[in-house]
Symmetry: C2
Subunit: 206 residues, 2 copies
DNA sequence: ATGCAAATAGAATGCGCGTTCTAGAATGGC
DNA sequence: GCCATTCTAGAACGCGCATTCTATTTGCAT
């Protein structure tokens, strides 16, 4: 019925993702994507209604990819084991998919879309966020037998914040994190969970 | 001899800093600064040769401010005490000067000046970086009696990366970090230094 | 073969922002 | 009081980029 697309939807997203990972979302101009693909600028708009739609898609696809793996690890086995495995996903993800990792961890969501997100994408972003929130809450209950905000904060530090911190310098220099990084994450994870069990009384909801 | 300046050099930097902290360096346009000051755009250029010069100044002033305090704490007393005190400067700085903290910790240096830094500012930035590097190296020697890269990486995690991670969620939501955050930082700091003393043999330079 | 749907192709448009330019006003030394 | 100097004031310019518009091409259904 019609001419075949030379540049697929994913071709465009991939090109945008490469640019974003390399030099940040601000450098992802329609012109830059076009020349990365050797395509004319107009063709981009046959796939995406606007630059915002495209950049939002880049971010959402990457975030969903990471969160799926994270959630899978978080509930595979005994809490302590599974939690550590989830925490160690962070450096593993950085090594396996440095482009996606740089997109997700090196830039803030607001740098992709400065203004408001298009309605349907805002919903998808919100869905990802609640998914992560309820996952962490569920994990906190199973690991500490509590779900107050202090317990949640501790778990989030052990599972997300500390791994991110350990990996960040290597993301910035764009080199794979050395094995030592996994050690740092494990140290922080164990120390935080030990402290949580020691300091926080169980079965109390402050 | 001449007319008095209505807007001082620091007035301009402060206005730019407020805007950068509130909505990121990309939103710090000359027009935005001007309207923040109720000044005409032209006046900005009587103080700074270009937007790059101004934004660079914002970043450098903030970084120098933080680093001075950090270095002071790092060598005030016994290593373990002093190190913890330096690590805890991070949340203290966020509470005391949220604007400067957001500028320094929430955005990357490259988001302030995308291209190359003006020569003299590049030198000042480099000087700050080496100052921090040698400070950390000196601290590593005094705390662990080593200065190989593994020891340095551990110390940097305990002193910089982990505190940053603990504070980051609160910077994003623009609320002062609760006291619990100091606890997290202390836990990570002590665990990392304990592990370093246990795992790394002393007086070896790998 | 032929027409139409859906692409490619890239020039044209409009806008936002950094920077510069022109005018007018204040200040202090003479 | 007058001049040189340095500011305020804001309009004007030019460039880069998102978006749109006008061809032109392609391939399947008929």
């Amino acid at each position: 019925m019609a001419r075949h697309a030379k540049f697929s939807n994913d071709d465009v997203i991939d090109a945008a993702a490469r640019l974003a990972a390399r030099s940040g979302p601000a450098q992802v101009t329609i012109g830059a994507i076009a020349s990365e693909l050797s395509a004319p600028t107009g063709s981009i708009y046959h796939r995406f209604a606007s630059r915002d739609q495209l950049l939002g898609e880049v971010w959402l696809r990457t975030a969903a990819n990471f969160q799926t793996q994270f959630a899978a690890r978080l509930f595979a086995g005994a809490p302590r084991q599974a939690g550590l495995s989830a925490a160690l996903l962070v450096p593993a993800f950085v090594r396996a998919e440095p482009i996606h990792a740089r997109i997700l961890l090196l830039h803030r969501r607001e740098d992709f879309l400065q203004g408001a997100w298009p309605e349907t994408m805002a919903q998808r972003a919100q869905a990802l966020k609640s998914e992560m929130d309820t996952g962490l809450r569920r994990f906190t209950r199973s690991a500490l037998d509590r779900s107050d905000s202090a317990a949640l904060r501790l778990i989030k530090f052990a599972l997300v914040d500390a791994p991110l911190a350990a990996v960040l310098p290597h993301l910035r220099s764009d080199e794979p994190p050395p094995p030592l990084v996994d050690g740092l994450i494990e140290i922080a994870f164990c120390a935080t969970l030990d402290a949580a069990e020691k300091l926080l009384p169980r079965r109390k909801s402050s």
